[in-house]
């Protein structure tokens, strides 16, 4: 029996519309149950779970090292953010120090991920509201960034590039040239998007005043990320609890007071510019040095070292076959993913597999806002609100 809205006794029957799960504007397989009066939504309910793949159960079956590949597949638009969250959690559990070069490359790549994710969001948000050309422009720029990921990790999307203790590899020579190209190109392109949308009267009529949520309600509903900042709450985990040396970078937290779809649009566009600032700083000040921590019990040795040292070979064999054993304990590590607070709650019992690994997925929590804010709006606005919350269903269902 699929989830539906129960009838309120004593009230006359209204039209119940099931929107999704196969619906292009639901950004995946999200199903909404809407009670309508004419074209206006009176009550709403969301139904998720269509992409549930049991990642959290799989985490318990695989070693820490193997788990990294699972994290990519949750938020498939921000694989590197998920890698980072997972690795930071395990590193915190072990108490591992990461070399500065690895930290800076992590920052650089996760900021590119944020830009890339926001580009997909902007393109699909615009196409949902009928601005077809935006989609093509955004995907053109996104492809440039995916090329960098491919060059660095060998994969466009499922990168698994961050490892416990640092990076999988030293990026190939010449990769910074490509980053520089993107950094030079993108500001003008973002201007271009803004000329198409920011003052466009159709865009304004479709977004201003739609899907409003106040700061108090947003905090009570555990909303996070750009959606929360669009309601005027100045909270960014990169500033409040800096990880991976974010405290050394200079950037602003864009906020808007209005809390509507337009505000969420403005915040994300500004965030892309701020991310570019961080990328530029990371590129200019990139320190030299190793990209992996020296911790033979936990971190894979260098290839070259394995050819000459028997200890390195043994450690490599042990980590690959058995996995490494963090101490008994539990940590909760959060990062600012493109969608909000991404948390990894990791419980270790001293074995090579996590005893429990829970993912606090930002989209899962943000989804709760949706049925609250679409009440009183038209069906067409529901589409705008879904896109403005930027849910990734792979992450919602895990």
């Amino acid at each position: 029996m699929p989830i539906t809205l129960e009838k309120i006794p004593g009230q006359e029957e209204k039209v119940i519309l099931s929107m999704g799960p196969q619906h292009p504007a639901t950004h995946g397989v999200l199903r909404l149950v809407l009670e309508l009066e004419g074209e206006t939504v009176v009550r709403a309910l969301y139904d998720i779970g269509y992409l549930h793949t049991g990642f959290e159960k799989s985490f318990e079956k695989l070693t820490y090292h193997q788990d990294i590949t699972l994290t990519d597949r949750m938020d498939y638009l921000a694989p590197l953010s998920n890698n980072l969250g997972f690795c930071l959690a395990v590193e915190k559990l072990i108490g591992l120090e990461i070399p500065p070069r690895a930290q800076w490359i992590r920052v650089l790549l996760t900021e590119l991920t944020r830009i890339q994710s926001h580009l997909v969001w902007l393109g699909s948000h615009a196409i949902d509201l009928g601005a077809m050309s935006m989609f093509l422009y955004c995907f053109r720029e996104r492809e440039e960034i995916l090329h960098i990921f491919e060059m660095v990790s060998g994969q466009r999307m499922m990168t698994s590039f961050f490892r416990v203790g640092g990076l999988a590899l030293e990026p190939p020579p010449g990769w910074l040239k490509r980053v520089e190209k993107v950094v030079q190109q993108l500001p003008a392109r973002i201007e271009e998007y803004e000329t198409l949308l920011t003052k466009n009267p159709i865009w304004l009529r479709r977004t201003v005043g739609i899907g409003k949520i106040s700061a108090e309600d947003a905090v009570a509903l555990s909303l996070s990320g750009p959606s929360l900042r669009a309601s005027g709450v100045k909270w960014d985990i990169r500033k409040s609890e800096p990880y991976s040396s974010y405290e050394k970078f200079d950037f602003e937290i864009p906020t808007r007071p209005d809390g509507d779809v337009y505000a969420r649009y403005m915040v994300r566009v500004e965030e892309m510019r701020q991310s570019l600032r961080i990328v530029r700083q990371a590129m200019e000040g990139l320190p030299e040095g190793p990209v992996r921590a020296k911790a033979p019990h936990f971190v894979l040795p260098e290839r070259e070292e394995m050819k000459t040292s028997i200890e390195a070979l043994i450690y490599h064999f042990k980590i690959v076959t058995e996995g490494f054993c963090p101490p008994v304990g539990e940590v909760y590590q959060t990062i600012e993913s493109p969608r909000g607070e991404l948390g990894f709650y990791m419980v270790s019992d001293g074995s090579p597999r996590p005893f429990r690994c829970h993912v606090r997925a930002p989209s899962f929590a943000n989804m709760q806002t949706l049925p609250k804010v679409i009440v009183g709006h038209m069906i067409a606005d529901v589409v705008a609100v879904i896109a403005s919350l930027d849910p990734i269903l792979g992450e919602v269902d895990r």
């Binding site: 998720i48 779970g49 159960k57 079956k61 905090v219 555990s222 539990e330 909760y332 606090r360």
Partner: protein, 157 residues
């Protein structure tokens, strides 16, 4: 290994409020965990949210751990956050394996709604007073709770 936190403003405040509400405390990697008896949970949560110096108004995360075959089998874990002082706190409630249930905190943080449904779905822990306690990720007619440790990953059905 987890140790005892030396001095912590939240812990002191909580002991002042109700000394019976603090069952056990732990400190690991700078993170404070407080164990709370299940029947004190909601009042403690309201206290933590409403006390101006603490103002843990943001529920970051809510989940559970299955310690099968040990008793008490389940632990429900609450991660709280303050958007003013950026403090974090972890609350834990221990529950028995036989008919595990605990008060819902949806009245304290409306955002707990989906998280509690997820825990109910995947662990089979009942949240009393939850407005809409139904499965959220698994199909409605699913049998069993997949994240329990005695639920097999293969060879089932």
């Amino acid at each position: 290994m987890p140790t005892q936190p030396e001095s912590n403003s939240i812990l002191e405040k909580l002991r002042e409020f109700n000394s019976a509400a603090v069952e056990d405390t732990q400190l690991f990697r700078g993170e404070v965990t407080i164990h709370i008896p299940p029947h004190h949970l909601r009042r403690v949560c309201e206290f933590l949210r409403d006390t101006p110096e603490l103002s843990l108004k943001y529920l970051s995360d809510l989940t559970a751990i299955d310690r099968y075959p040990n008793e008490p089998r389940f632990e429900v874990v609450y991660h709280l956050h303050s958007l003013e002082s950026f403090q974090r706190l972890r609350l834990k409630v221990r529950l028995p394996g036989d008919d595990p249930k605990v008060e819902s905190v949806v009245t304290v943080w409306p955002g707990a709604n989906a998280f509690e449904r997820e825990v109910f779905d995947l662990f089979g822990i009942r949240f009393e007073g939850h407005p809409y306690l139904r499965r959220i990720l698994m199909p409605e007619d699913w049998e069993g709770h997949p994240l329990r440790k005695d639920y097999p990953t293969e060879g089932f059905r």
